[in-house]
């Protein structure tokens, strides 16, 4: 297992190098640059040239790339052109919000999706199955930003059950320890802050979970249906094993393998889904920061974020492989 972990981590190096070259070529071909984004209507040719010179953006692309690469080896992602602060600091500040949101979304998707998919398969053709299949279709089809606006309009504006934006209520003055608002409240005993953070999290998390939930319901349903028809399930049932044992040990456990893979990939994709969700709810995570970074052509932030996403995918895939061996001992990890 250790060899697998080391091998996967080493695979990161060529992946990130290749990706960074592609990114640099792509960004260099984009029209515009950070100087005019900084100056807005006030930009003049001379001012833009002065800023580009100060930022080293007038140098050849290979010089800029080499400078960037050297910094990466020093674990320095550079400085955001929008905020003037180190990219690491900006990520560190906003990442906890995105993690909270992502974890909550995937929890909702898994906790609701797997039982729903399982029950839909067990009662194939029944009303629950029809509802789960059509509901998941809607979940996949509905644009995330539209769902966000809809949920906000109903549950925040009309009913007033949840806050309409942000991570914490104004004036709450919660103590910041780790940046994870819910955890901080628990650590400091400010439980109202934790509860406030949960209330702020619900609508964005439900929005973000819509696609993973739909995918997990459909995959679980399909996978369970397939396993239910297997000989070993029939054998287990005819042996007189308790239904609970058959479902848990034989059906669910075997049906979970493709679902776990899907959960892994969906977790990675949540980061990109967070861009829209966080923007609509002004959630203050990495997602909404990336959106403003695209507008501002904030290259260091964009490059850092994309490289970071690549790392997350590699790590999640590794975790998925490790999870296989726990779920199914037949899978040997070397």
């Amino acid at each position: 297992m250790l060899r697998l972990v080391v091998r996967r981590l080493l695979q990161l190096i060529p992946t990130l190098l290749g990706l960074s070259v592609l990114l640099f070529l792509w960004l260099n071909r984009l029209p515009g640059g950070p100087a005019s984004a900084i100056l807005g209507e006030r930009a003049t040719e001379a001012e833009v040239a002065r800023i580009n010179r100060a930022l080293g953006l007038d140098e050849p692309i290979h010089v800029q790339y080499w400078r960037f690469l050297k910094r990466i080896f020093e674990l320095d992602l550079g400085t955001s052109t929008q905020t003037g602060q180190p990219v690491w600091d900006e990520f560190a500040l906003r990442f906890p919000a995105t993690v909270e949101l992502g974890v909550a979304a995937i929890l909702i998707a898994v906790v609701a999706g797997i039982p729903l998919g399982y029950l839909a398969a067990k009662r194939r053709g029944g009303w629950l199955d029809v509802a789960a299949v059509s509901g998941s279709l809607v979940g996949i089809c509905i644009p995330v930003f539209f769902l966000a606006l809809l949920l906000k309009g109903i549950f925040a504006v009309e009913l007033g059950w949840f806050p309409s934006y942000g991570r914490l209520s104004t004036g709450l003055n919660a103590t910041d320890v780790t940046g994870f608002a819910i955890l901080d409240g628990l650590l400091t005993g400010e439980l109202d802050a934790s509860w406030d953070a949960i209330m702020h999290l619900i609508l964005p998390a439900v929005t973000l979970s819509s696609i993973p939930l739909a995918v997990i319901v459909r995959m679980t349903r399909a996978s369970v249906l397939e396993v239910l028809g297997e000989d070993y399930v029939r054998t287990a049932e005819s042996k007189g094993l308790e239904k609970r044992v058959v479902r848990g040990r034989h059906v669910l456990r075997n049906a979970m393998l493709p679902v776990v893979t899907a959960v892994g990939l969906l977790t990675g994709s949540l980061l990109s889904g967070a861009v829209l969700t966080e923007s609509v709810f002004s959630f203050g995570g990495v997602g909404s920061f990336i959106r403003t970074s695209i507008d501002a052509r904030d290259y260091p932030v964009l490059v850092g974020f994309i490289l970071f996403i690549a790392m997350v995918y590699v790590v999640i895939n590794l975790l998925v492989d490790l999870a296989y061996s726990l779920i199914d001992p037949r899978v040997r990890v070397h």
Partner: protein, 556 residues
């Protein structure tokens, strides 16, 4: 599996318990002052995060909206207007040449850190800016200093503007004298800018210990400007916290303020990026007011009982013409034809909120120097066709750029405005090729480089001087316009050098007349930006310069 099940049950139970305990605890925290009473806190939403808590390092409205509550300049604008009035200086005067400016300071003014305001403090500020080195000399950092006062004691960039600031002398405790090398149209208006607001000398000493640095491909702003604690002004509020993660800047009433104290104890600025999000937050009762209201929302909100005052116009929206991008535009008849082809009145009626005005020149009628005698180009499709025929351009083809994903105070709906103009131009026989571009930086880069034959842009004034409008575009050759016309440039520059306010106003009128005779582009309209407040709020006087003073706010 059994173990997993009991774990899940424990987790669910724990969540429920936390929820119950937390809701129970909430009221305890309220008593401790952890959460504020609703009427003690005014929450206002802007569209973007501030860039810095030191306004001297900023050039954007979102930063100034926050810092304006905590910092004051020597001069200010009258509440709700654009006339210059005393700020930290009760009175001010200049020598006839406009090179020596004397400020008589208010007495008993204290900074948030307890320091007293005096002439030495004022001079410490101006000298601090004048002696900026390194990255501080980048126009991304010190845009307004360079615009108003030129360069620095020692310019490090050959292309930096020449310094116009000469010196600041503390004549006595309450008299500061600022000297400049040459008279400037930017003075005295520039003395009112937030970027030149006065900081505590003690805070300045702390600032001086921290450097802005340009490392790699970006400028790193000094730490003091990114967190509350060091910056100190004299305003009615002091900045207590900048929670970047929660996109929130908190301010608290400054009880030693020299003027009328703020009516609400806590003031919070929050960032909600989208118009829709800001409107919904107001309707949900999560905020008490917000800026940049979409014109389409004005009626809805007013109908629901919210207060949506509109500011007096202080901006101009125009169709720019880049003569270098299309040689046909070098012909005056063609430019005149395009001007006649566009129905400005219809655009104002259908696209702008109530109070919008069709423009006749490149400044709104609220700016001194607006002329009633400029040549006008009323909507007349037939005349446009005749002019094009006369110029031999009956089959004129033009590229017309417009920005996407943006609204500006002067341009609430760029695409809709573009569509109306395109239809007007096509009626006059002009073939229009639409070019949609993302606002920043694509569109701004393209227009600034002069690669868009026709394009939509505008300007919101910083202070009430004609040069702040027409000087921005027509003081010399500019790629955006791609023309050289000595008559226009001379008229604008001559006006800017006149120190007598009345004489300058008259000269600006003449300059406007020269500009509209040449017709380098089409001034289209001035739009009154709307701002929204909750039903239970007594709003501040709204300012055409978007300089609302939130110390005036109270709850009903």
């Amino acid at each position: 599996m059994r173990i997993h099940k009991s774990g899940a049950i424990r987790a669910i139970t724990a969540t429920v318990v936390v929820g119950l305990v937390a809701t129970g605890c909430a009221s305890d925290r309220d008593k401790d002052g952890g959460t504020s009473d609703a009427k003690d806190t005014f929450v206002f939403a802007g569209a973007g995060d501030p860039g810095s808590l030191d306004p001297a390092l900023a050039s954007d409205g979102e930063t100034f909206r926050v810092t304006r509550q905590a910092f004051e300049a020597l001069l200010e604008h009258e509440p709700g207007g654009s006339k210059l009035v005393g700020g930290l200086a009760e009175k001010w005067s200049s020598n006839p040449a406009g090179t020596v400016w004397t400020f008589n300071l208010r007495k008993n003014v204290k900074f948030h850190d307890g320091e007293a305001l005096n002439a030495k403090a004022v001079c410490a500020n101006y000298d601090h800016w004048f002696n900026w080195k390194g990255t501080y000399q980048s126009s991304a950092v010190s845009y307004y200093w360079q615009t108003i006062m030129g360069g620095f004691a020692k310019n490090e960039d050959a292309e930096a503007p020449k310094a116009n600031y000469k010196s600041c002398t503390a004549q006595d405790d309450s008299t500061a004298v600022i000297e400049v090398n040459e008279p400037s149209a930017n003075l005295p208006g520039g003395f009112s800018l937030q970027a030149l607001a006065i900081h505590s000398p003690k805070a300045l000493q702390e600032y001086a210990k921290q450097d802005a640095s340009a490392k790699g491909d970006a400028i790193t702003y000094p730490k003091y400007s990114q967190e509350a604690g060091t910056v100190a002004g004299t305003g009615p509020y002091r900045i207590t916290k900048w929670n970047k993660g929660n996109k929130e800047v908190s301010l608290e009433r400054f009880d030693d303020y020299w003027g009328e104290k703020a009516k609400v104890k806590n003031l919070v600025f929050r960032t909600i990026d989208t118009e829709e999000g800001r409107r919904q937050a107001l309707q949900a009762g999560d905020i008490n007011g917000y800026d940049l209201v979409a014109p389409a929302d004005v009626k809805t909100l007013s109908g629901e009982g919210y207060q949506v005052p509109t500011r007096d116009v202080f901006n101009i929206f125009y169709v720019g013409m880049s003569q270098s991008a299309n040689p046909a535009l070098k012909k005056r008849e063609v430019r005149q034809a395009i001007s006649h082809a566009i129905d400005r009145e219809n655009l104002v009626k259908t696209q702008l909120p109530e109070g919008g005005k069709a423009a006749t020149q490149f400044m709104p009628d609220t700016v001194a120097g607006f002329s009633d005698k400029v040549k006008t180009y009323p909507f007349d499709t037939n005349k446009a066709k005749d002019l094009l025929k006369g110029a031999g351009e009956s089959k004129l083809k033009v590229d017309f750029c417009y920005p996407t994903e943006v609204t500006r105070p002067y341009m609430p709906a760029p695409q809709d405005m573009f569509e109306l103009m395109k239809a007007d131009l096509e009626k006059a026989g002009i073939t229009v090729t639409p070019k949609a571009m993302k606002w920043a930086p694509d569109y701004l880069d393209a227009t600034e480089a002069g690669s868009c034959a026709l394009h939509l842009l505008g300007w919101t004034g910083d202070f009430n001087d004609g040069y702040n409008f027409i000087g921005t575009w027509f003081a010399g050759p500019d790629k955006q316009w791609g023309f050289k016309d000595a008559k226009v440039f001379d008229a604008v520059n001559a006006a800017s050098k006149i120190t007598d306010p009345n004489g300058r106003t008259e000269a600006y009128k003449k300059a406007n007349e020269a500009i509209m005779e040449y017709v380098p582009g089409i001034p289209v309209s001035s739009s009154p930006p709307a701002i929204a407040f909750g039903k239970n709020v007594n709003p501040p006087k709204v300012s055409p310069l978007t300089q609302e003073n939130f110390a005036e706010v109270s709850f009903k």
